[in-house]
């Protein structure tokens, strides 16, 4: 597979051996919320003051922190991107996108009395938007890979964003036509294309995942979801029937509370089912990924994933309840505005913090559950020689593809 190529110029002392070292260890994550919060706060403030321009540098700062806290074999990852690159990418896309948006707005207004054309235009616009999101995702990943390095060796990504978007589009149609059943096939195909085009140094990653085992898990969670939605439909029907008989106020209250509780429980169960499937996918995809003679396994479970998401949402839910109570208690009073300001600020601030809380917990859980094992020869892993994009992620930023 990899040939023995002699390094050229600045050769230090002869390497111990060009033979493989045996590896069996976990990546470590040393990120802490206490160190992330100040960065996020400052980002927020500066972004407001600069009418949003600062966010590119803010994102860069967060990424540099996060990347540098993930280490393998005691050597951290490095993020070498700059805010300027992100900003330029954004500007370039905006120049093209804004006229298109304006055109769409004009059409929206002008086609009010031609509903058929209006609907057709809306559908086309939606499809085009989805297609662009796929392109944006691929290009964003390419930007990040080329701006990630370990021991000075850079990542890279070959392949074409358009090919990826075409695949995604076709598989999406397949998924819709089969009412969601073929979704794992889409997941596997897209992940395969992305992974096999991902490069670190001069080595491509490999991806080998049969989708049959994934399909079993998917069908199980699909059945669960359908059962849950069916139950919800049943409850809704019963509720509407009961209300139509116009019962007394106490009865109505009982019905409403009961209905809300039922909805919440069903919602929670549905959420758990989807998180369970996500854990299955993570384990499956990690096991399928190989880097030369290195392979990986993940022991991520549904419980651990839930622990990633739930605490943040619980606190947020608590704040929402607090806000609702405050509104209820002060409604009618003219001082309502002053009472509400504090909860509103708390809600907004915490809402802005949730993404970073979840990302922090997710990376921690992901690293703690991942083990990389096999044979690795550092001397034979050479620098990536591909061209890298000069600026990044303009489309992803413009379409708000991801928060980080």
């Amino acid at each position: 597979m990899s040939e023995f190529i002699e390094n050229g110029n600045i050769t230090p002392e002869p390497v111990a051996q060009a033979s493989d070292d045996m590896v069996n260890e976990q990546p470590s994550y040393a990120g802490r919320l206490g160190e992330l919060f100040p960065i996020v706060f400052v980002n927020m403030l500066l972004s407001i003051v600069t009418l949003g321009i600062y966010r590119f540098w803010g994102k860069t700062k967060i990424r540099r922190y996060l990347w540098s806290r993930v280490s393998f074999q005691d050597e951290p990852l490095e993020y070498t991107g700059t805010g300027t690159e992100l900003f330029l990418g954004f500007l370039i896309v905006m120049v093209i996108l804004i006229p298109v948006l304006l055109l769409n707005s004009f059409l929206q207004i002008a086609l009010q009395n031609k509903p058929d054309v209006f609907i057709a235009v809306q559908i086309l616009y939606g499809l085009a938007f989805m297609y662009l999101v796929y392109i944006a995702t691929y290009r964003a990943q390419r930007y990040r890979l080329t701006r990630t390095s370990w021991r000075g060796i850079r990542g890279g990504m070959s392949g074409s964003a358009i090919t990826f978007a075409n695949k995604a589009f076709l598989y999406m149609l397949l998924t819709i036509v089969t009412l969601g059943v073929m979704y794992p096939k889409m997941q596997v195909a897209l992940q395969k294309y992305r992974t096999e085009n991902s490069v670190f140094g001069d080595v491509n990653l490999e991806f080998d995942a049969p989708f049959a085992p994934l399909m079993k898990s998917w069908l199980f969670s699909l059945v669960c979801l359908l059962t849950l939605y069916g139950t919800m439909g049943y409850f809704t029907y019963e509720f509407v029937e009961a209300i139509e008989v116009k019962p007394g106020q106490a009865e109505v209250l009982r019905l409403v509370v009961g209905f809300l509780i039922a909805l919440t429980v069903i919602g929670i169960l549905a959420g758990v089912a989807m998180v369970w499937y996500s854990a299955v996918v993570i384990r499956h995809f990690v096991a399928a990924t190989k880097f030369e003679k290195l392979s990986a396994t993940s022991t991520m479970t549904v419980g651990q994933l839930l622990k990633v998401y739930i605490p943040a949402y619980l606190v947020y839910g608590g704040l929402v309840v607090l806000f609702a109570l405050t509104t209820a208690m002060t409604s009618g009073g003219s001082d309502a505005a002053t009472f509400l300001i504090l909860p509103i600020i708390a809600l907004a601030v915490f809402g802005a913090l949730i993404p970073i809380i979840i990302i922090n917990r997710f990376i921690a859980a992901f690293c703690a559950n991942m083990t990389i094992a096999g044979a690795f020869s550092a001397a034979l892993l050479l620098q990536n020689q591909q061209d890298k994009p000069g600026y990044g992620e303009g489309l992803a930023e413009a379409l708000e593809v991801n928060a980080l």
Binding site: P12, T50, L51, K61, L101, Q108, G152
Partner: protein, 371 residues
Amino acid sequence: MTSDTSVRFEARYSDGQSAEQHDVAVRCAMQGLIVENSDRQPITEWDWGDVKLAESHSADRPIRLQNRSLEGPRLAITDRSILGHLEQLAPHLKRDPVSRAGVRKFTIIGALFLCFALFVIYGLPRLAGPLAESIPMEWEEEIGEGVVKTVTKIFGADDSKCKNPKGVAVLQHLTDRLAATVDTPYRFKVRVAKSKVVNAFATPGGHVVILSGLIEKADTPEEVAGVLAHEMGHVIKRHPTKALIHAYGWSMLITALTGVSGSSGDLASGFALHLVNASYSRGNEAEADDTAVEMLARAKISNAGLVSFFEKFLNEAKAKGKSTGDDSVIKYLASHPALRERIDAIKAKQPSPKGTAINDDDWQAIQDICG
């Protein structure tokens, strides 16, 4: 303290050609860092000017350095006591690699966007005029038709009900009579929409919509004629179209700053709300008033109607104090500020002719226009 060039610090070095890491020692010389292997052979030298931090350092990690003129090589100094020497010989390392460049850049770019924002706030209104005039009339009329639909929906009004032929004909005749007094490329399309709301609005392309609540509120045909002339004044001065361009300018600015957030659909209703809330500047309202007064005078219709219509609202509001029940008055006032000044301005013009707008039969027809 001059650098003690014999002191060696433990470090790890990767040359950027392969992933291999070598155990090395680092010495601090006057001109730069010297990296040596375990046999004290120099591997490479980095000038202080080229040395920069590869990551923000913290107490529990090695100090990671890179060379700004070489892309790959990395130096991780595990012996943190080198910090003292670094502070002496390379003080520029103290500052965080990201924020240094960032603060300067975003100040410049922030300034650029401030200029753009100022342009939208101050320059766009000036540009809006010539821009408005260059839009082809067919486009304007199409857009205007769409805006009529959107705004009518916002008012919860129904524009299919008020089609009583006699009333429609009388209204059209009145419109034509007023339109004949001015030289404008617009073809006015006036319609009535059924609604309890007391209001009227104009859209790009010459569409005017009067809500039936306003007709009910009016006591004389001169009042309706006054309001009609006022809205036609907005059309003639291209206020709706300029407002549209202005709204697009704002929307562009916001999109440029924050990216797309599915807001293009909101633009249509956003602009419509613009019209509804009549965030026309006082200048625009005064201009429409002036045009209306001129048109009424030339069409030989008394402008006492316009005045009395406004005064009716002022008096009702004063009498009622805080609104109870019939809040259509308050809503109308809220969207038409500075009524007092406008009434005074109209009265200050040369005295109006005494003519009536339409005869009693036709007035009845208009009042019955919604069946």
